[in-house]
């Protein structure tokens, strides 16, 4: 029980540190791919500290509550996803709960941005929703493939089954590839950053955010990166202990980052069509295979 409570407190902190490390790393790595020197890895942290100390504007109660809901929803997701075998709340919710809890963060941002009454926000939300509709198809296919293959909806069971023998990526390569292909879309980074395109719609949902709102959004983004990648590692790469889990996450993140660094941005309809074409077909074939065998 005490261990559980401690892990509930510590796990989000670890996730936060890893998330910020990834955020900083992404800026550094992308800079190096662009042949720049790049900021220090601690730069996202500096930014957040600056933002917390900066004044901001508020459009109303919902504007505040939405951001809080968004971050809180992301924080509790960490507790449901096993990190190196530690998942204090895995008995309270399975993969289905995780899929639904992933809703809270975008819902919070959307509500908060909606009250801001800026059309750029509305466009950003509508694009985010459409993109989500796009990537949910392959995402759900690959999740269902894993759940059908292991005949369970519990993420812990999935990880356990993989650790006793081969990783799921060897049984279900196609859903894994499909999941990896849509990972940038889930994280909202290039080539799928049309949602928050700064040049077109002035960074979309974040257009009215400044100061602490932006700080919370950045923290939420750090959690989000952690969650999506940890989910991939758990589903397909067999989890692992704390160290191997982190190494696997790093590998997946870097692979995704290389794609991020070299691709231009897709238009929203191109993004939807892309998501519904190759990743969806791959994941569907994987699901059919998993269902038949």
């Amino acid at each position: 029980m005490i261990i559980k409570v401690i892990s509930i407190i510590v796990l989000p902190l670890i996730a936060l540190i890893i998330g910020f490390f990834f955020l900083g790393l992404s800026r550094k790595v992308i800079a190096r791919i662009h042949r720049r020197y790049g900021p220090p890895i601690s730069q996202p942290l500096i930014d957040v500290i600056k933002l917390i100390n900066q004044e901001s504007i508020s459009h109303g109660k919902l504007f505040d509550m939405g951001v809080i809901l968004s971050l809180a929803g992301s924080v509790i997701l960490v507790l449901f996803i096993p990190f190196g075998g530690i998942a204090p709340l895995a008995t309270s919710g399975d993969l289905l709960v995780i899929i639904y809890l992933m809703l809270l963060a975008p819902l919070g941002v959307a509500l908060s941005g909606g009250e801001a009454a800026n059309p750029n926000v509305s466009i950003g939300i509508s694009r985010k929703m459409m993109l989500a509709l796009g990537y949910e198809v392959p995402f759900l296919f690959s999740l269902l493939a894993v759940m059908t293959w292991y005949k369970t909806t519990s993420l812990v069971e999935v990880v356990k089954a993989q650790q006793s023998f081969l990783w799921a990526i060897f049984y279900l390569p196609l859903p894994a590839v499909a999941y990896f292909m849509i990972l940038p879309a889930m994280l909202g980074i290039r080539p799928f950053d049309i949602v928050s395109a700064p040049q077109e719609i002035a960074s979309g949902t974040a257009v009215e955010y400044g100061g602490r709102y932006l700080a919370l959004t950045t923290i939420q983004h750090a959690f989000h990166i952690f969650i999506d990648i940890a989910l991939f590692v758990n589903l397909f790469l067999g989890g692992g202990n704390l160290l191997t889990f982190f190494v696997k996450m790093l590998v997946v993140f870097l692979l995704g980052l290389f794609i991020n660094a070299v691709f231009p941005r897709l238009r929203i309809d191109q993004a939807i069509k892309y998501c519904w074409k190759w990743p969806a077909i791959l994941a569907l074939v994987g699901l059919i295979i998993a269902r038949i065998i």
Binding site: N53, E55, S56, I57, S58, H59, G60, L62, D64, V67, L69, L71, A72, V75, I76, L89, A90, S92, G93, D94, L96, V97, I99, Y100, L103, L104, L107, A110, L111, G114, A116, A117, N118, P119, S122, I125, S126, R127, M129, M130, A132, L133, V137, L144, A145, T148, K151, T153, A202, E208, G211, R212, Y213, A215, L216, I268, D269, I272, L287, R291
Partner: protein, 618 residues
């Protein structure tokens, strides 16, 4: 006796309310509320009782009209009574400015009474009588506003009558075969019937109930009817009246035919339940994505009513303990959310002068905060955000689909949820968020009698979302009466052997995380409250109300998926109507309208008769 009291109070109450309306409007309003409240209390008192009464024996055909109460009928009766009461309460202010208010209250109470009769009746004869009462009362209420509503009502009643006829066909065939129409005796008699006959019966009943529950291919009446009816009645329609079809499905499939018999229908994947599941899946996917394209708020919700019905059909179609419980629970949950959302639309209509076009509204959160919270709770419930009610029922349906190895059905259910998220978010955003148009500057919050139903239903959403054990206890009683292994549940979720779901833990961590985040938020630098027109606009100042983006919220997605979402079924029906019209045109040619011609026809017919007679004589 108790059941007769319920029916008498509800039917007689309707008449009394109508009569008092002749004298005083105020007394009528109060008596309408009191009658519906009395029905709620009477039904509530009947909890956990098993009653059977014969209230009238027909002097012919050896039939009798009888009533019964068990868990299934109580579950539906309390939904009917509850939503009926709240909608009457909501109507008080809403309906004030309409004409024929007394008639409206009478019909509302009458339809409610009819629905109570349906769920309480113990034989198919009384079931059919109450069913027709409800159908025709509904027709009158849908057409209440006149204008376009009359066409919607006609569409409804034509499809409804077609469904009722299919049902009547099956009922008559049952009587011809067994000589009785009692549910209990039919249930035992049908156990030795041939599978073909049972399949025929089920098919007929599925058509009959499917029209009401708006399963795909029989759904086309619903969007028109929901959109054109007055909002309090739309709430009753979507939450309760349409779900009478669901009650019928449960009654015929599990109460009468039974699970063991259902498994024998068909072989392999071509069995009745699997096909019903696929119909449910299609009913989820197509209507929820059609809802994405709607710009009329009530029509959008109406399409969701169809889609959520698909979840229920899917749930009971899987025919596992978890699935049936999920389907029944979703009926309750959708009744709560759907009614709430129609109340919200009604409140908006009431205050903005009947505006339903989503593109014309916006920013009403500043003026109608209670309505906004109700709307937020409603859409959260409809989506199934964790800690709201639909989450539990949807979780149960997904879980059973995955564990029973139907991943494609599960995918349909999941993607339907995404369609729901998209369209209901558009609903909320375009009504409440964004800039407040100048013309709604002076809009006020709705009066208390309209707020109370919304608040109660919002609380119900949260309550059933955190404590799903309350309705699930009744549902396990229902399952016991079906002969299905009853679902064992805890108060806050599912026991370990069924799955990992514990909502109180989720609530606790969410609260703790929320408090921590709130502390961080409040300890950091303060923010300045700005007005709505102080918005980033690339360095420009945009006057109030001119800075809004809502028209065609999902335009790109619309361009991609829009062409595939054409309602072909509706087109097919209209094609059928056109074809039958042209064939009836030929018949019409005979009736020239001249007396001479008719006389000629008479003469010719007489001549024919004479020749026939002569032919026989020879």
């Amino acid at each position: 006796m108790q059941l007769i009291t319920i029916l008498v109070v509800s039917f007689l109450g309707a008449g009394i309310v109508y009569l008092t309306g002749k004298f005083s409007g105020r007394v009528r309003d109060i008596s309408a509320v009191l009658v519906s409240l009395a029905v709620v209390i009477l039904v509530g008192l009947a909890y956990n009782q098993k009653i059977y009464t014969n209230f009238y024996s027909l002097p012919f055909l050896n039939l009798s009209l009888s009533l019964r109460l068990n868990y299934l009928s109580w579950f539906f009766a309390i939904i009917v009574a509850g939503i009926g009461f709240l909608s009457i309460l909501f109507s008080l202010e809403y309906i004030k400015d309409y004409q024929g208010v007394g008639f409206y209250y009478f019909m509302m109470l009458f339809v409610n009474a009819g629905m109570l009769g349906i769920v309480l009746s113990a034989d198919f004869l009384s079931f059919y009588i109450f069913w027709e009462m409800m159908s025709w009362g509904t027709y009158l209420l849908i057409s209440y506003k006149g204008g376009k509503a009359v066409a919607a009502g006609l569409k409804y009643i034509i499809m409804s009558v077609a469904g009722s006829l299919a049902m009547l066909f099956a009922i008559v065939s049952l009587y011809a075969s067994y000589g009785t129409l009692k549910f209990s005796s039919l249930a035992s008699l049908l156990q030795i019937a041939s599978p073909g006959y049972i399949l025929f019966l089920l098919l007929m009943f599925v058509v009959g109930f499917g029209v009401k529950n708006a399963i795909w291919t029989l759904h086309t009446w619903l969007p028109d009817a929901h959109a054109e009816a007055v909002s309090p009645f739309s709430a009753v329609l979507t939450g309760v009246l349409v779900r009478m079809g669901m009650y019928g499905f449960l009654l015929i499939m599990y109460s009468i035919v039974g699970l063991s018999l259902l498994h024998k229908l068909g072989y392999g994947l071509l069995n009745f339940n699997y096909i019903l599941c696929w119909i449910g899946a299609i009913t989820i996917v197509i209507p929820t994505f059609t809802a994405l394209l709607q710009n009329d708020s009530k029509r959008l919700l109406a399409w969701h009513g169809i889609g959520q019905g698909g979840y229920m059909v899917l749930g009971i179609g899987v025919a596992t303990s978890l699935g049936i419980a999920g389907g029944i629970l979703h009926t309750l949950n959708y009744a709560v959310c759907g009614a709430l959302l129609f109340f919200v639309v009604g409140a908006i209509e009431h205050r903005t002068g009947g505006v339903r076009d989503l593109n014309e509204l916006g920013g009403l959160i500043k003026r109608m905060p209670v309505t906004f919270i109700a709307g937020l709770a409603g859409i959260s419930g409809l989506i199934g955000v964790p800690l709201t009610n639909s989450f539990v029922s949807k979780w149960m349906i997904y879980k059973t689909l995955i564990m029973e190895n139907y991943p494609f059905l599960a995918f349909a259910a999941f993607i339907g949820t995404w369609g729901t998220i998209l369209s209901v978010y558009k609903f909320l955003h375009n009504i409440f968020l964004g800039q407040l148009p100048e013309k709604y500057k002076d809009v006020k919050e709705v009066p208390l009698t309209m707020q109370i139903p919304m608040i109660l239903l919002s609380l119900a959403i949260i309550l059933f979302g955190i404590l799903p054990g309350i309705p699930l206890k009744v549902i396990s009683g229902i399952e016991k009466s079906f002969g299905v292994e009853p679902l064992s549940t805890t108060m806050f979720g599912m026991p370990k052997e069924i799955g990992e779901l514990n909502l109180i833990n989720i609530l606790a961590v969410l609260l703790v995380a929320g408090i921590v985040v709130y502390l961080i938020f409040s300890l950091s630098a303060k923010s300045r409250r700005v007005n709505q027109d102080d918005n980033y606009a690339a360095g420009l100042f945009v006057p109030r109300g001119k800075y809004q983006y809502s028209a065609r919220f999902y335009d790109q997605a619309y361009r991609i998926i829009g062409p595939y979402l054409h309602d072909v079924v509706d087109d097919f029906y209209y094609w059928l109507v056109g074809k039958s019209k042209s064939s009836f045109q030929i018949v019409r040619q005979i009736y020239t309208g001249n007396i001479n011609t008719y006389a000629l026809y008479i003469l010719l017919f007489l001549t024919l008769l004479i020749f026939v007679k002569l032919g026989w004589g020879l």
